[in-house]
């Protein structure tokens, strides 16, 4: 590749002679004549964007990104930086995966369809629910889609959607936008010690509730202990019980089908993507009863003309390109390639690897919390619960001061209250956790 700046698109292969030959065949003198744009709306100016060689572009982008500080991130609350095995990058980056699109021609897309079928199967195993689609955009939009599904399938005239008061603003706000076109309204129910306050929830639930949402683990890293009771409250009100989780948590925690979940949503990219500034993969699984109301793409098995098993997108009459304004969702382009990465990561780990990864999230969080709890003026964990990968710490000082001092030492943690920090161990090597714990001790001393 030469290092010169492009004078045209570097990815358009035409030579001058070819351009001329093509124009001659078409019967015009210039390319400009091919544009049927009235002069009043023609753009005769420049954007003012310089062209660069490939090498210059890389240097340019790198020089900007280098302004990001290199911190050890003990951050979670819905987005995690687990280690992604090299196999995932190398194989998912094969250009057949990267440069194909939605499998409208399944006969030349079997490989991707099969990988997505395997992804769906992974989620079916993890959730115990019969149907999983092959992606929504992220956890927040998947939650929004769950609410519109609840709106479509509800058997009551109710309009209330109940979510925990701890729900992250990104998810809550997205949910609000998704239901804006329905008559649903979002209300919160209280939590106690960072888990569902069952008594308060019972008071909040009535027959007007169409959907009840809980997360396991919660955004504070706590593990719910009464999910089956929450499900019963929902069922008694003829409401859908929607559970938020992720594939690593689901490898260890109670199986959603066993606690009575109707829909499972969440971020599946905890497997497959490293920290990506919040980019995710919306997990969406539900019971077979709602199959025809599922949003997004579904891959199914069939046979080809030689009777060999083959895969195809199926039940497309739910989708926007066929059903238009009566579609179950407006989603078209989705997160298929991330789903491929998630499936690959899960395959590399295998069932024991998955369970061990989740288990480490429990023990490492527990151990680190215990260490910090030894420090004077520090309480960890704040919540008297079991935790997965993260926990809240109470400090005597202002939390922002402690977080600021830690950042100076190269560590990023969440500030979640005036005196509360949240610390996540996901993806952080054990030695680093040890160093962090020492530095933390110095900061709060």
């Amino acid at each position: 590749m030469d290092d010169s700046r492009p004078t045209g698109s570097p990815y358009a292969p035409h030579t001058d002679e070819e351009r001329a030959a093509m124009l001659e065949v078409i019967g015009t003198d210039t390319v400009t004549e091919l544009f049927d744009v009235p002069s009043a709306v023609r753009f005769d100016d420049e954007f003012g964007i310089d062209a660069r060689s490939e090498r210059e572009t890389r240097r340019f982008v790198r020089s900007i990104l280098e302004r990001n500080d290199d911190l050890v991130e003990l951050l979670g609350r819905g987005h995690y930086g687990y280690y992604v095995p090299s196999l995932v990058d190398h194989l998912a980056d094969r250009s057949e995966y990267l440069t194909s699109y939605t499998q409208y021609q399944p006969e030349v897309s079997q490989g991707f369809l099969q990988a997505l079928f395997e992804y769906q199967s992974l989620l079916v195993e993890l959730t115990g629910l019969e149907v999983a689609n092959c992606s929504m955009y992220d956890a927040a939009t998947a939650l929004g889609e769950a609410a519109t599904l609840a709106d479509r399938v509800r058997e009551t005239s109710g309009t209330r959607v109940l979510v925990p008061d701890l729900l992250r603003e990104g998810r809550r706000g997205t949910l609000e936008n998704y239901v804006a076109g329905t008559d649903l309204s979002i209300e919160t129910y209280p939590t106690a010690d960072a888990t569902v306050d069952l008594a308060a929830l019972e008071d909040a639930v009535d027959e007007d509730v169409v959907m009840l949402y809980a997360e396991n683990p919660t955004v504070r890293g706590t593990i719910e202990e009464r999910l089956a009771d929450v499900a019963t409250l929902a069922t008694d009100a003829e409401a859908l019980f929607v559970l938020g989780s992720d594939p690593i948590a689901l490898s260890l925690l109670e199986r959603p089908a066993d606690v009575g979940a109707d829909v499972v949503v969440g971020d599946a990219s905890v497997l497959g993507l490293p920290t990506s500034y919040g980019m995710g993969l919306g997990l969406f699984a539900t019971r077979e009863d709602y199959l025809r109301q599922v949003p997004g793409r579904l891959v199914g098995a069939s046979e080809d003309a030689t009777d060999r098993r083959a895969f195809t997108l199926t039940l497309q009459t739910r989708e926007q390109h066929i059903r238009r304004e009566r579609a179950t969702s407006n989603i078209c382009t989705n997160q298929a390639w991330v789903a491929l990465r998630t499936a690959m990561h899960a395959a590399v780990l295998g069932p024991d690897g998955l369970v061990e990864l989740a288990t480490r999230g429990v023990t490492r969080a527990r151990d680190l919390a215990a260490e910090l709890d030894e420090l004077e003026g520090v309480t960890a964990p704040v919540h008297d619960r079991h935790h997965l990968r993260e926990f809240v710490v109470d400090v005597d000082q202002a939390a922002t001061d402690v977080a600021g001092a830690l950042e100076q030492r190269g560590y990023a943690v969440h500030v979640v209250g005036e005196h509360e920090l949240q610390i996540c161990v996901a993806g952080v090597p054990e030695e680093t956790l040890g160093q962090f714990s020492e530095e933390f001790a110095e900061v709060v001393r």
């Binding site: 440069t99 939605t102 006969e107 079997q110 500034y277 895969f311 298929a336």
Partner: protein, 508 residues
């Protein structure tokens, strides 16, 4: 028919009479999870293993059953699967409306810079690089579309449409015009336009086109009213035609107090030639996986940033990025910030949990920075040249002209879907079929700027060969692909959506 066709021969791995087996057919291992399991005992039990859980049993699942395979086995599995996929790097991919242009390799390297891997809850001070990329991309897109403000949050085109519709709703509500309950969508529009308007709670008014394939001004006049919230258009439209009356259309929509929405799917036709903002559009989405060459990834991820005119800026999703110090410069400087996040005054809130598909946005930023004015303008020129040249070389009729980056041919007496299947046998990807419906048996074809004359000739050869073939040949196609024609009816009638379902149906 001679058999010297150029062909893209796909690796067809077959084992036990089937294409590459499922992972679950290679292995399934059940891991028992328990407090106080005797791990050694279970490990000897072949396909089961046990893991000791640090949690009480009533908080954990009992077991997990998934394939346990070695890395070399997995490398082969995913390599074989990739060999059964046709991508842009395999050959021409003229899927109309999808802008399947070449995805520059270097953008993958850029997205993999370790400095790009940051958590969204980091302090703004510590991620100035990420914020600067976002700021500059907002600025690039604003200039390219002629828009005053841009949000990068929507994760795809349809999500961008949804932001546009929600912004329109918020704007009308703010002006005391919350009664507006209709969104007008041309009959020939993409399905997402209809679905998005419906998701936003609007009644969809569908607009027929005139005989020339453009917006019918009389029909528009009839459709517009004080209930119109917005008109959604793409320009060039899905026939590739420029809406010549766009200024009149904008005036008509604005006269009744509605907003004009630009579906950016076809922006590749106009880069550097015309801008939605200059045509009178109030709000638009950019489809970066089309126009700005980020990989389609087998269906996604994409990104659908939204640009708006000044009046709509306060309603954009939160947060956006700006130069720090808009409120208090010294404060920002002392806090070590050049760029900062802020919430627009009357924001519609969130449409994604965080800030959208960051890695995709980063690739789009790198693409625009590489091409610059010269490259972007040339991209649209060559895309339009290629479409016109290809159309001139194919025997199928193209009823609507003058088109730009794409054209819609008619398969005439043939079934467009069968034509597509048969084209696969010639080693090319077929066009989008049966849409827009205004052209009978539509073959919506968009070669993009990345194809050479030689490739276009080959592509035309595939069209023309199929045009000569009989219905039976078409119905039996494809015959040279990794899998033969797949039975859609069985798939839908008896949905088997996981390997669990396959086992059940085979009676195991």
């Amino acid at each position: 028919m001679t058999d010297d066709r150029v062909r893209y021969d796909q690796a067809r791995y077959v084992e036990d009479g089937q294409y590459e087996p499922l992972l679950s057919q290679k292995d399934l291992t059940r891991v028992e999870i328990g407090n106080g399991n005797d791990a050694d005992d279970a490990a000897t039990a072949g396909e089961t293993a046990a893991v000791d859980s640090p949690l009480p049993d009533d908080l954990t699942r009992d077991s997990l059953e998934l394939p346990a395979l070695s890395e070399p086995e997995l490398a082969r599995h995913y390599t074989r699967l990739s060999q059964m996929i046709y991508g842009i790097d395999s050959g021409p991919y003229p899927l109309g409306s999808c802008t399947m242009k070449y995805n520059p390799k270097f953008t993958e390297d850029v997205a993999a810079f370790p400095s790009a891997a940051v958590h969204p809850d980091r302090s703004e001070r510590s991620i100035q690089g990420t914020l600067e990329v976002l700021y500059r991309l907002q600025d690039y897109l604003g200039r390219i579309g002629g828009m005053d403000a841009v949000t990068l949050q929507p994760p795809a085109g349809a999500a961008g449409e949804f932001v546009g519709i929600r912004v329109a709703a918020a704007y009308h509500e703010y002006n005391g015009e919350g009664h507006r309950d209709e969104v007008i969508v041309p009959e020939s529009a993409h399905g997402t336009n209809f679905a998005t308007a419906a998701l936003g709670g609007y009644d969809v008014v569908s607009l027929p086109s005139d005989d020339a394939g453009r917006v019918d001004l009389d029909a528009l006049e009839a459709a517009l009213s004080e209930n119109t919230a917005a008109l959604m258009l793409t320009n060039p439209n899905t026939l590739g035609l420029f809406e010549r009356d766009i200024e009149v259309i904008a005036e008509m929509v604005h006269d009744v107090g509605g907003l004009l929405y630009y579906d950016g799917a076809n922006l590749n036709a106009l880069l550097g030639r015309a801008r939605p903002g200059d045509m009178g559009f109030d709000v638009m989405h950019y489809n970066v996986h089309k126009t700005f060459a980020t990989p389609h990834g087998g269906g996604g991820p994409g990104a659908g940033p939204v640009g708006v005119v000044e009046d709509l800026e306060p309603f954009l999703p939160a947060p956006r990025v700006r130069k720090a110090g808009a409120d208090d410069e010294s404060d920002a400087a002392s806090a070590g910030r050049t760029y900062e996040l802020f919430d627009p005054d009357n924001t519609i809130g969130k449409v994604h949990g965080y800030q959208g598909n960051w890695l995709v946005l980063l690739k789009a930023f790198a693409y625009i920075a590489r091409l610059g004015d010269a490259g972007l303008t040339d991209a649209s020129a060559m895309a339009v040249l290629n479409a016109n040249y290809l159309a001139s070389q194919i025997e199928y009729e193209v009823p609507y002209e003058p088109f730009h980056h794409e054209f819609v041919a008619s398969a005439g007496e043939q079934d467009a879907a069968d034509v597509a299947k048969r084209m696969l046998d010639y080693g090319v990807h077929p066009p989008t079929t049966k849409w827009p419906e205004i052209v009978p048996e539509a073959l919506m074809t968009e070669p993009t700027e990345v194809e050479s004359k030689a490739t276009l000739d080959r592509l035309a050869g595939a069209f023309n060969a199929v045009a000569e073939e009989d219905d039976e040949t078409l119905a039996d196609a494809p015959e040279r692909t990794a899998a033969r024609r797949i039975d859609q009816t069985t798939a839908a009638r008896n949905p088997r959506l996981s390997w669990h379902a396959l086992e059940e149906s085979s009676g195991q």
